[in-house]
Symmetry: C2
Subunit: 199 residues, 2 copies
Amino acid sequence: MRLLLATRNAKKLVELRRILAAEGIVGIEVVGLADVPEYPEAPETGATFEENALAKARDAVAATGLPAIADDSGLEVDALNGMPGVLSARWAGGHGDDAANLELVLSQLGDVPDERRGGAFVSAVALVVPGHDDVVVRGFWPGRIVRKVKGTNGFGYDPIFVPDGDARTSAELGSAEKDAISHRGRALSLILPHLRALV
Amino acid sequence: MRLLLATRNAKKLVELRRILAAEGIVGIEVVGLADVPEYPEAPETGATFEENALAKARDAVAATGLPAIADDSGLEVDALNGMPGVLSARWAGGHGDDAANLELVLSQLGDVPDERRGGAFVSAVALVVPGHDDVVVRGFWPGRIVRKVKGTNGFGYDPIFVPDGDARTSAELGSAEKDAISHRGRALSLILPHLRALV
């Protein structure tokens, strides 16, 4: 079965394929937006991660007829009242400029003392399959925002996020290690039973 | 009586003098930080406007012995979960770059639809007088965030904020008109009885 992961982010494709392989789920070929004919994508203007993930997955199914998964993920910073949140990818204005986004968060938190630097990565993952009920789940990964970029793995805000119980940023974790505990790993693990039921 | 308004913002000095004059309060000479010997100012790291306003006023009294007023004000944007909030002056990273701050809010709200563009200006004003109890009050000015800069009066986020019941931005209001309804005007009016009692 082909499953469309509605993203242009090659790292997310690799991540989902890795998780399916690790779980022994065979018979699902994960493709990305680059592998299907182009279709107009609605802007992500929802107020919640769930709303955006569902809209992306529904758009993908409507355009391609393939079962589709989409995620909307971001960083919730306590001292920013939970923002950047759904605006994580465009926090500094442009879309997807990781370096600008995390530099902005660091400078916004410049005067924020250590005891108020908590935060969490959050991921909503939606699975939309023609003829089935929609599924949307949320994964949560609590931690804190450090003062300096550290690590080169991952993407987005990984280099400034230290998960609870660790001293390393999530950009210093190995891929498998991160999948097992991360927000998106947790959300995808909640989706796995629904994927298993399809093959 | 000399009263120290703990600010280097000349527009805030003019505003307070104008309000005192309009209220017929005489016998209070408002001076600013530029008019007193320099003292170390603690960074504004409080989690609330009230905390910052009180800390600034207390520092001013401790350093100068003068009765002091301080404010901490900012813009709370619903779609940003109430941010920039206490980080309003340094939202884009640097401190006090009005143009960069409001451009950043505009671009962060670029995809946010009209019905979710609500917000409010908020101002906490603290009055600290040796031998008297501290007073801290909050003024609130609800409205919405527009999509383009408009108007040249005021400062900060005035050019992108349209108060409820008006079609103009607060940067298009006249000074007296703004004082009568603005967040800081409201907060200062709550402080006036306490000032009257001093002279």
